[in-house]
């Protein structure tokens, strides 16, 4: 029982110590010390999470820690799941980070290695672990804001190198704080109605609230949480901030921070508010489905490797939220078993996504550090130069494409099963929503395959298309070790998901659903009334391995005599040796998909043909520009920003610069307020 407080105290102590170490230590050795301490934070926090998943619970109250309200913490299995995930990611990424900041002259190492960034990193790691422990509104918001601020500072780490970093950080700062405002308002309304701000009081107070108020609280908090999770339409910060942050930070943000948006949604929606009417969950599912398809479509168009991964995060969070929404829908219809199944699928996908996305961002960072290049069009050929990174990226990509034997397949299979069996819930709503949900999952899985074939095939295979990629060197050992840990985690999740079984079950139960124990032992088993389905990943892998062996043996045997494999020139159509410039780039790979989804994506194309002066038929130069802007962002944010800018411009007339006028404003403002109060009362 005492594991959790001890582990949490250790994590906190280490986090603060790491921040101090980052501040005071000289450049030499700073990275190592901070990395080790941050890894300790991850291990300690992860231990607390695992203990909570194992069935321990712990709560405490520290009155003096926060003014007025005091701090409340409580750890149950749901918190435990998110803490365990964050802990594992933090520990592996911290190891990776030590290698990342080591050595001068490598691209981007100085940003994360700076005094400020190294001081903030352990605090960010700590906040990721502590947010799920909060058990009162004040504590939660406090930790939430610490997480937002520390991550903002880390996003800014490389601001000297690229102006784009500043713009991205500005977007992130504004959106995360708008989210905070929404959360503040939502929780304020809730706490005022419930008559207390601890989560216990909120839980007790929900019964007396009108449906309108509950709906308002849900919508406000859900908007804030889905924005943190990077869901469309409040996703605009994610594809900017995640690529511009140093890769270790991107990994933490994409694999641990966005999860907390999901955590918040589950905690408030299911635990505190105790579920709600169908429209809540339909809204959530709509956002999830939209994010899944739109996110992966944008990823398919992206040729910036980290932007691609960021949009893929948006997609995966969309799938998770789709599952969570379905759980809410089933729970509303009274089918708790099915709700538990959908929620288990969603939570399992959170875990799987964290594992492979941290790995993918790590590998992307490895490429970025070696080449200084994130543009897939200019990469290529890294398989030969950086074999370990390429192999690890392939492991992560296998998870991301949701095909066996990757870990993503397990959770998407469970998600699909919960949707397909969801038709057991009577009603036209489920009958019309669930087929669409299945279609969304299928389309996003299909597009994800195209996306990661592009990322791996164009970025790592073939030949180098840029000088930087041709001169790339494999990353330092510690980076490879950090990524190797994550790859091992992916493999474990893919082959023996049963290890998670009990913990997942408890996390689902913590929200209040009776589980069906879908994941146990060697495989997955869905058992509901009248339906059943099983999947054993180990069997699939073994079958594939046996088949591979059989095919190889047969080919050997059929060849009669052993022949050495020889090398030959590529087929060149008689036109001379093909140069790397002739190879397909990421942009050309995505072109058919861009055409197919032309109406959705609205790409901007610009062809500029300059003929030579003597004849209009002889072309001197052709310039082609292709850009796929984020259309939702364009349509939704631009008008709002324009209106705000116009309002700001017109308000400038009020500020003439004369102190008298300003004093007058103060006077009139006060008088108006008093008048309103007098009349109003």
């Amino acid at each position: 029982m005492s594991v959790i407080p001890a582990a949490l105290a250790t994590a906190t102590g280490l986090g603060v110590a790491g921040a101090v170490a980052g501040l005071v230590l000289p450049q030499r050795g700073r990275g190592v010390v901070v990395g080790v301490v941050a890894a300790g934070v991850g291990v300690a926090g992860g231990t607390a999470g695992v203990a909570a998943l194992g069935g321990s619970r712990w709560s405490a109250q520290v009155s003096g820690l926060l003014p007025l309200a005091g701090a409340y913490v409580e750890v149950d299995a749901l918190s435990g799941l998110f803490m365990a995930v964050a802990g594992a990611v933090v520990a592996a990424v911290a190891v990776y980070g030590v290698g990342y900041v080591a050595g001068h002259g490598s691209h981007g190492a100085y940003g994360l290695g700076s005094r400020g960034a190294q001081a903030v990193l352990p605090l960010f790691a700590l906040s990721l672990l502590l947010v799920p422990t909060a058990a009162s509104v004040t504590t939660f918001l406090m930790l939430w804001e610490v997480m937002a601020l520390t991550s903002l500072l880390l996003v800014l780490a490389e601001h000297r190198a690229r102006p784009a970093v500043r713009e991205a950080a500005l977007w992130y700062a504004v959106m995360t704080h708008l989210g905070l405002v929404l959360l503040l308002v939502g929780f304020m309304v809730y706490a005022a109605q419930a008559g207390g701000e601890t989560f216990t009081a909120l839980r007790d107070g929900r019964a007396g609230m009108s449906p309108t108020v509950r709906g308002l609280v849900f919508v406000l908090t859900a908007m804030a949480f889905t924005s943190k999770a990077g869901l469309v339409p409040l996703h605009a910060w994610l594809p900017r901030a995640h690529p511009e942050a140093p890769s270790a930070v991107s990994a933490l943000m994409s694999a641990a921070m966005v999860n907390l948006g999901i955590y918040g949604l589950l905690r408030v929606g299911f635990d505190l508010l105790g579920g709600g009417p169908a429209w809540w969950w339909l809204l959530v599912m709509a956002m999830g489905g939209l994010s899944a398809v739109y996110g992966i479509l944008q990823a398919a168009m992206a040729s910036d490797l980290k932007r691609l991964l960021a949009y893929s995060t948006s997609e995966n969070m969309g799938l998770v939220v789709l599952g969570a929404g379905a759980a809410g829908l089933f729970a509303h219809a009274g089918n708790e078993e099915l709700a538990g199944l959908a929620l288990a699928a969603a939570l399992l996908h959170v875990v799987n996504h964290s594992a492979f996305k941290a790995l993918l961002f790590g590998a992307a960072g490895s490429v970025l550090r070696a080449t200084g290049e994130r543009n897939l069009d200019l990469l290529g050929g890294l398989r030969a130069r950086m074999p370990v990174t390429a192999g690890l990226f392939a492991v992560g990509a296998l998870g991301a494409v949701a095909l066996p034997p990757g870990n993503g397949f397990i959770s998407e299979w469970l998600l699909l099963q919960s949707m397909i069996h969801g038709l057991a819930v009577p009603g036209v709503t489920t009958a019309s929503v669930l087929p669409l949900a299945v279609a969304v999952i299928a389309l996003s899985a299909g597009l994800a395959a195209a996306v990661f074939v592009k990322a791996l095939g164009v970025g790592f295979f073939a030949r180098s298309r840029g000088a930087e990629a041709a001169a790339a060197k494999e990353s330092p050992l510690l980076m490879r070790v950090g990524m190797g840990l994550l790859a091992a985690l992916c493999a474990a999740l893919a082959l023996v998901p049963g290890l998670l079984g009990d913990g997942l079950e408890r996390a689902v139960a913590a929200v209040g659903f009776s589980g069906t124990r879908p994941v146990s032992g060697g495989g997955l088993r869905v058992r509901l009334e009248e339906v059943s389905a099983t999947l054993s990943p180990l069997w699939v892998v073994a079958a594939l391995a046996v088949a591979l062996g059989a095919v190889m043996a047969t080919v050997q045997w059929a060849a009669r005599r052993r022949q050495r494999r020889t090398q030959a020139r590529l087929w060149d159509c008689g036109g001379g040796v093909p140069t790397p410039r002739m190879a397909y780039t990421a942009t050309s790979f995505a072109e058919p998909l861009q055409r197919v989804f032309d109406d959705v994506l609205a790409p901007e194309q610009d062809v500029d043909v300059t003929p030579v002066r003597e004849s209009a038929y002889l072309v001197e130069r052709v310039r082609f520009r292709n850009r796929v802007p984020d259309r939702i962002e364009h349509r939704l944010y631009r008008p709002v920003l324009d209106v705000l800018a116009a309002a700001g411009q017109s308000a400038r007339r009020l500020a003439g610069g004369s102190v008298h006028v300003y004093l007058g404003y103060g006077f009139f403002g006060l008088v108006t307020l008093l008048v309103v109060l007098v009349v109003g009362w």
Binding site: R383, L403, P404, F409, W413, Q417, I420, L423, A431, P435, V438, A439, I441, A442, L443, A445, G446, L447, A449, A450, V453, L456, G457, F461, A462, E530, V531, A533, T534, L535, V540, A543, L544, A547, L548, A550, V551, M552, V555, A559, R564, R565, T566, Q567, A568, R569, L570, W571, P578, P580, M582, A583, Y584, S588, F589, A590, P592, L593, R595, V596
Partner: protein, 317 residues
């Protein structure tokens, strides 16, 4: 039951492995005859395979493990499918593993491996083929899974033997609107997955129209034999799957060896008829433009969605 079950699997895999090239040969022969040519004979694909397997293995300069392993993985996935899909018996030792979603995913895994190999060559053709193949694969996925959904509703499971056995028990399921719509949708998806007309033309080598062939252009010798064999296996398994799902009559549902042998004979017949019908139809079809393919697939997706809706709303009666 167990011994017969294992025998059923062995027979099924044997039939698929031996029969897949013959099926392709039969389709080519049918087509040749309909076009007024003599044709090379049904056994020609086997002769090609033997010839290619004995040649010296060659890798193009600059390619890596992805290029080398993709053909092996393609054939391996197809073999696992040949074990999983219930063609002759629904009562086999692997009946609990034959989940339809897993089958679809394994098909996609083979496609993906070849696409990566195409990109690994670093030529324009390889990339072009991979790009087109993945585009089509991405768009087929919703159709297939939606058809899976439609099929699993009456059976209450995505488990293939359960679906097939259920349909063999109650043939009315197949003639219901949902069943018919699902057949149509899945048939289009199968055409796209196996790279047949009108989605892709397996006998073209024109760069404007190549999809699958562009991807595997750099393969030669034993590797090429595997790629071709893999494609033939996939076609045979997919046609067999169609036959099992929509004409399950005769499939062995009990553990008697006679029933299994009869079922084997029947499924070979069914697949041969399906293959010949497809070959005959292909004589009259032209390949669709690449950018018209999404329209075909969207149409088939719509059919599948209708099938799901129909099976839900009409299922209660």
């Amino acid at each position: 039951m167990n011994a017969v079950g294992y025998a059923a699997i062995a027979l099924q895999v044997g039939a698929v492995v031996v029969g897949a090239p013959l099926l392709t040969g039969l389709m080519r022969q049918t087509r040749a005859r309909l076009e007024g040519r003599a044709g090379a004979g049904v056994v020609q694909p086997w002769r090609d395979t033997r010839k290619l397997l004995r040649k010296e293995p060659i890798s193009p300069v600059g390619t890596g493990p992805a290029f080398r392993w993709a053909p092996l993985l393609l054939v391996a996935t197809a073999l696992v499918l040949a074990v999983l899909v219930p063609l002759v018996s629904t009562d086999t030792p692997v009946r609990g593993r034959a989940d339809l979603i897993v089958v679809v995913a394994l098909l996609a895994l083979g496609t993906l491996a070849l696409a990566l190999a195409g990109l690994d060559t670093g030529t324009a053709f390889g990339g072009m083929g991979a790009s087109r193949e993945m585009t089509i694969a991405a768009l087929v996925e919703p159709t297939i899974l939606m058809a899976v959904f439609a099929l699993s509703i009456p059976a209450g499971s995505t488990n293939l033997p359960v679906i097939v056995a259920g349909a063999a028990d109650q043939p009315a399921r197949l003639t219901s609107p949902a069943g018919l719509l699902a057949i149509a949708a899945l048939a289009v998806a199968v055409l796209a997955e196996s790279g047949r007309l009108p989605v892709d033309n397996p006998s073209t080598h024109l760069e404007l129209t190549m999809v699958h062939e562009a991807m595997v252009l750099e393969y030669a010798g034993p590797d090429l034999a595997l790629v071709e064999f893999g494609a033939q296996l996939r076609l045979a398994v997919l046609l067999g799957l169609l036959a099992s799902l929509f004409a399950p009559w005769g499939i062995a549902t009990s553990g008697s060896l006679v029933a299994v042998l009869l079922a084997l004979l029947l499924v070979v017949l069914k697949v041969a008829v399906l293959g010949m019908a497809l070959a005959a139809a292909e004589v009259f079809w032209a390949k669709l433009r690449l950018f018209r393919v999404p329209e075909l697939l969207a149409g088939s997706f719509l059919l599948a969605l209708l099938a799901v809706t129909a099976s839900y709303f009409l299922g209660g009666e």
